[in-house]
Chain length 391, copies 4
């Protein structure tokens, strides 16, 4: 059988997903073939060009029509977050497997509706997955594997941060990402969501409550000459930034049975001068520690406190060996992977779950949980950093 894919949206994430779908079957033995069938966008010319560029057989402008087509098996949603719920729920109801780029939605309410729809669909064998792709960077997966195998013992503390600096220049113009109506959230939702999800993935724990503060460092910026878009020339008028630039969060994970409930600290920022894409997670345990940094994504730092005391140290594991997660079909040891490979791994895992009839991870329920954490952070910030439950 061949799984035929419709991708809704075709921005930066569309490019990444396309590359994932195109490359995965060349390196991995997929249990089902995949076909990049149709890409959907609002503007007919633009989406036709995207189809040509990214290698989709067809383009279309009406997603409602596409998601009900009999020849479509998977709907891959890479539109902005405010349209995720509507498309995903409709697709699930139409019986299509759904992959949604993170964040699952812009609001908890939407995310709840999506998770409900996913649960109902699952009963009919329809699969759904949210695209926290960094779980599938092999070094991050190895971190999870080491933790799950008990190599760092009981978890004592977690730190996760995602730092970028592309808003550093106060004269950089407003874009849709700085407009709460469109983007839903700022650094917190865009990149903080990754830090939260990855910390939970690696530790196997879930945040139970949070205390946080969000802030907008540069409150006014030049408007774009031609309205709030993705980029462009600055006008002389100024607009108000309505999303956060930075979020600082303390969180308490729910304890594993009988264990201490560890604290985590989180930072998401677009003002960390010099840090370009620094998603870092460090987990301290009773027997060791793991530390991951997306800016050196082929490496994992691992500390083994069970070794002789005078031989202990953080070890840089190049996660490129054939028995490392996802690595078997790629290059010889020492030949590095890049950002986009996670999207191929995501494609592999989704197709495998569909073929096996199992629930892929992260599920919509996982995405909903992250959304609740983000929401709790915003409410905590509004309440003077009071601790808020993520339930």
């Amino acid at each position: 059988m061949t799984l035929r894919i419709a991708m809704i949206g075709h921005g930066f994430m569309g490019a990444a997903h396309s590359q994932g779908w195109r490359v995965a079957p060349r390196f991995f033995d997929l249990p089902e073939a995949v076909e990049m069938a149709v890409v959907v966008g609002r503007n007919a010319d633009a989406v036709a060009a995207a189809a040509e560029k990214w290698g989709w057989a067809e383009s279309a402008t009406d997603w409602r029509e596409v998601i009900t087509r009999e020849d479509i098996d998977i709907v891959d949603i890479v539109t902005p977050g405010d349209s995720h719920a509507e498309i995903a729920i409709a697709a699930l109801e139409a019986g299509k497997h759904v992959l949604v780029e993170k964040p699952l939605a812009n609001t908890v309410e939407e995310a709840e509706a999506m998770a409900d729809a996913a649960a109902r669909a699952a009963e009919r064998g329809v699969r759904s997955m949210v695209g926290f792709t960094y779980r599938r960077v092999p070094a991050a997966t190895l971190a999870r594997d080491l933790v799950a195998a008990g190599r760092i013992g009981e978890i004592r503390q977690v730190r996760a941060s995602y730092r970028q600096d592309w808003l550093r220049d106060a004269e950089g113009p407003m874009t849709w990402r700085l407009d709460k109506e469109r983007a839903g959230s700022g650094a917190l939702g865009d990149i903080g969501a990754h830090a939260i999800d990855l910390s939970e993935y690696i530790t196997g724990l879930r945040l139970a409550s949070v205390s946080g503060v969000v802030d907008t460092i540069v409150a006014e910026r030049p408007l774009l000459a031609d309205g709030v878009g993705l980029s462009g020339t600055a006008s002389t008028e100024r607009g108000i930034v309505t999303v956060d630039d930075v979020a600082l969060v303390s969180g308490r994970y729910a304890a594993a049975e009988g264990a201490y409930a560890p604290l985590g600290s989180f930072e998401a920022t677009r003002f960390a001068t010099g840090r370009k894409n620094a998603l870092r997670v460090e987990v301290s345990g009773s027997l060791g520690a793991v530390a991951f940094d997306l800016e050196r994504l082929n490496e994992l730092s691992f500390y083994d406190a069970t070794l002789p005391a005078n031989e202990q140290g953080f070890r840089t594991i190049y996660v490129t060996e054939h028995d490392h997660p996802y690595l078997a079909p790629w290059w010889p040891a020492g030949h590095m992977l890049g950002y986009e490979h996670g999207f191929s791994h995501q494609a592999v895992d989704l197709v495998t779950a569909i073929a096996d009839g199992t629930q892929p991870e992260p599920s919509f329920a996982d995405g909903l949980h992250v959304q609740r954490v983000l929401d709790a952070v915003e409410r905590s910030s509004a309440a003077g950093s009071a601790w808020i439950s993520t339930d």
Copy 2:
């Protein structure tokens, strides 16, 4: 003139201060000679041995007597924090210059009394200083100099953490450092104090309010066979740890005039497996960034965002050149300094201030401020992480 020093106390910090006093005049041209005159301890035999080992001309057991001796000019206090106030105030009133190891005191009340005494003494030309020695690691000083010179522009964000792991083993026994009566505080006061002070030193800003949480990760530990001391054999009985193991803090600095009031995030922990003495401060500015790590204390990371975009990157400056702070009298470039050199620099700065008749830094008022921040953190933690002013 020769400045004659009396050191009160002779533990680990006594060794460090002794080394500072011994070595400083060998490399620096001090404006006044110094003499290691007398070391004071409660146990006559132990303090006599310390005098012999660390090179003090005399030993004594009664600090009250020593601080009034006419031949003593400087009183250097390295006892546990609960005795700082009494000794320091008495010494200042006796007209002696005073150096107190951090923390200034165990409580805000004591610290206030000390700052008052220092202010009164200053009117009579008597100097006082608190030993936040890490300000005098040359790379940290260079960080401050770069910030002060505007090389990173307006400050947008600060992160400071001090991570150790010596409590990792849950079967490690109780020591006096885990007993609130004796130690005053745990990770927060012991090492968090350094992170707070260093962040303020480098940025030139002061924390105005904080929101924090402190926690004790391992709540019970074996008692020492012979009571709560510094170290020893574990007994079969267990005691309750009454200090914090970890503190997570968000803070808001008072803004420089007309500028944004930046957020800072702080962590102090004794459970960061694999991190031995990792005091790190990273400051993001509108034009650049600096990052310091005590585990690589001869290096400073500096990012200059005013360079051509395709040449930007964090730069590792080996802070060992003759025109770097404190470096001129030391070794040729590339020859590294260690932990203890900061104590020589501290000695140089104190003696220079005494000779010049100026106020050395950090002052008791600075020490009091840090104490107030620590106190605010504890009160915030008790109040569900509510924001507390540091005034």
Copy 3:
């Protein structure tokens, strides 16, 4: 017009070239379209499977027939080195543009014949290129650009090494790579060739003479149970390793006009325990330095000695900005590329040169030069490390 490609050979390098051809047109606006037309191998079933797996429209077993087909424009040769000359010369004579994976050939004589053929073909507008792909890792290209722009001044010294460790285990079996008949050379030709070429590319200089020593560290290894192949089960019999495991070389570059002729030092080894794919080049100049490491291929170290003395340090440039070489069509800043992306860049450059009617680099003459250096190293080693000219 569409350029139709025939790839001869389909091992590991075939996978990499296929990925290069497949992905390049998705991200770059190629001046001509490309089509993966046919892959050629000796075994009909194996090559058919390769065509299916790597996405070639057809497969074939007779390269002679394929290279004369009218519908083929580019012949991409990824067979072992001993067949390069015959295929490449025939293809050039048939009027096809040719890309040959490095090394250009196994012997200087073959390489000379190829360079001659390439020169003749160039007169007819037929292009040829040798695949020293690491020139097209963006950080390596940036190193070249900085040197060419004079940012490190006059070149004083070069160090280049390529270290792997896959022969560490003395019981690892013989493969064809350890057989001189098949492989031509060991570490020297396989990976030392890259170190030499990359050093010349970055500096813009050419090695004029060399003094070297090559050695075989483990002289005997278990034979493969089923003959000398690529991998497999060890038998109880042992065979003699006939290629080098390690090469150490000193070289003298021809001076730039009026300048000092700098020395270079080189190492190629398969016994550098823990180094997986460590191709490193460091160039010291009168005004700065650059250092590249393939194990961190998204980074370039750059030292600018014209900055104020107390701000100098090696800078880690993440070579992921849109104005860095080859980066414009890829991901946002901070999103990393991997090993295979160099093959897409190679495809882009070859297609661009064909469309523009210019000579692509590195040329067969460049490949011949590297071959002469390798040959001179072997002759030097045989002659007690006497200096041998590379002419």
Copy 4:
């Protein structure tokens, strides 16, 4: 008993040795007390000032007189290399224990005479030692310990380099270090000697033969206005540099019994722009590897190839634990040592050997061996890099 020391010479090395003698007894329990009795120099005023500054009880101008004084037990020689032989031999004949800063001498002949004198003296219980101090950086000592314990298995390859950049500026003036008459050698003898010695110390192997090339990168430099001294103002006249700026060497170690005789590669340079004091040694073995870098002297990189394949990586050991070499009496874990601490460790080891009646290491015979290696390199360079035995 107290060992009374006379130090001959008082330049940069005199400062380092003085610091070593002063500090050692404060931290280590020496088997004999030491006393900094007298420092000797040619200029009475200068040496008196040095005595005052570095803490020697007396100063003197006639070393011949001093070395025969009954109250002197140890003669510590830190003069330039051309006077080492005369002073050391006289001191040994006078029955004094002798410490000589490296290089042992400027010529093999002198070194041979010194080793002979040392052997004769040893029969009378008189001890001698050459100051390859970097052996006593704890991380380097730990590297040796790991190798000696078999943790990296059989040695396959060694790389050692010592890179500085203080001659980068071609207009930097001539000093005595660039004059062969005074300095004996350039980069090779000054710092290459350390690379050679440290590689032999860590591996426990000895270089049997070498092939090398030395070169002078900047052949003419401004003369100092007041003759060839240590530093000063440049005149308008130019002088000829008569020592090497760079040395590149391949060497073959004598094999351990039954083992492969590994190759080593060496570089010494004063033109490695950006490298300030980069003495690096990396040893590859059949079971692991160690790598040391003096620019991060508190760290050792260790690779253990016996661990599970997917957990292998270079490990950064902070060599600051109490059970690391030399560390017990110093600071708590994670508190760093500096350059000068090696001189204290050297003092401890010498005094311990004297007290125990054992031969301290490195011996004059070890120093002679290094001298022979340096001499063989120079002869090899003169002979077109022919291999020269170090016998």
